[in-house]
């Protein structure tokens, strides 16, 4: 890639890994934490709230962001120029695929 700084490598890796991780986290329900909006409860991982619905969205974002940040840091500190050879198009291609996969996953709502 032409991004000739560590931040460029980090940003491209972060976007791509986050998008892929978010899809995996979503289909496997791996939130870092959960929230019960009716009770105000915050719990670690995917534990249901004691009453009312449980929200995992914040936890899915947190899990994906941590995975992507680690991958981004690893990529930008890779020895030699490995990280800098990354194709910048991954920053939009992987998220685009992730959006399409999620749309497919939820397509049942549109044929209900």
């Amino acid at each position: 890639m032409s991004a000739n700084s560590r931040f460029g490598v980090f940003a491209v890796t972060f976007a791509a890994v986050y998008a892929a991780a978010y899809y995996l986290v979503l289909i496997n329900n791996w939130p870092l934490f959960s929230y019960g909006p009716a009770t105000g409860e915050w719990t670690l991982f995917n534990r249901a709230a004691s009453a009312g619905p449980t929200m995992y969205w914040y936890g899915w974002i947190a899990t994906s962001a941590i995975v992507a940040a680690i991958a981004g840091l690893v990529a930008c500190y890779l020895p030699g120029n490995l990280g800098r050879r990354l194709w910048s198009g991954l920053a939009w291609l992987v998220p685009l695929c992730s959006l399409a996969a999620i749309a497919h996953l939820l397509s049942g709502y549109f044929t209900h």
Binding site: S2, A3, F7, G8, F10, A11, V12, F14, A15, Y18, A19, Y22, L26, Y35, P37, A38, G52, P53, M55, W57, Y58, W60, I61, S64, A65, A68, S88, G89, A91, W92, P95, L96, S98, L99, I102, A103, L106, S107, G108, Y109, F110, H112
Partner: protein, 154 residues
């Protein structure tokens, strides 16, 4: 309080929608000559000037939306379920995921729009901007429809 937050969220989203639409139109159909009519002037904006505003507006709108989302989850979503508004329900479900993925694009978006612009990265810049514009438009319309079904303060 929730109504004030929803209205503020909507206003921020409206500003974001305007900024990203200006930018995406100007990257796909830039004006080479002096802008004449309204459409040409719309296309002729300095795209790079919008970047920081778009990032700040995206983060502020998403942050406010994530607060309102707790209330949506125990009120409006039930209305959508009980009324069998499955398409609107699904559109809102997609909105939450699209917004979450859009957040992760912002560092790369900022990077590829930094000055001076790298001509070799024009395609990446254009497609990142388009993807963010798609997310913003989807989120705005899905939120607007859900809000219309539920109504304010009902």
């Amino acid at each position: 309080m929730w109504i004030a937050l929803v209205i503020t969220h909507g206003l921020l989203a409206f500003l974001l929608l305007g900024a990203i639409t200006h930018q995406v139109v100007s990257v796909w159909a830039p004006v080479r000559a002096a802008a004449g009519n309204f459409v040409a002037r719309f296309r002729a904006v300095g795209s790079a000037n919008y970047v920081n505003a778009i990032i700040v507006l995206y983060c502020a709108t998403a942050a406010l939306g994530s607060v309102i989302y707790t209330n949506y989850r125990i009120t409006a979503r039930l209305t959508l379920e009980q009324g069998h508004y499955w398409k609107s329900y699904g559109a809102f479900e997609l909105k939450e995921h699209f917004i979450a993925i859009g957040l992760a694009l912002l560092p790369a978006y900022w990077w590829f729009w930094r000055q001076p612009l790298d001509a070799k990265e024009a395609v990446t810049r254009k497609l990142l901007t388009t993807l963010i514009a798609f997310v913003v438009w989807w989120a705005f319309l899905a939120g607007h429809v859900a809000n219309n079904i539920r109504g304010l303060g009902t």
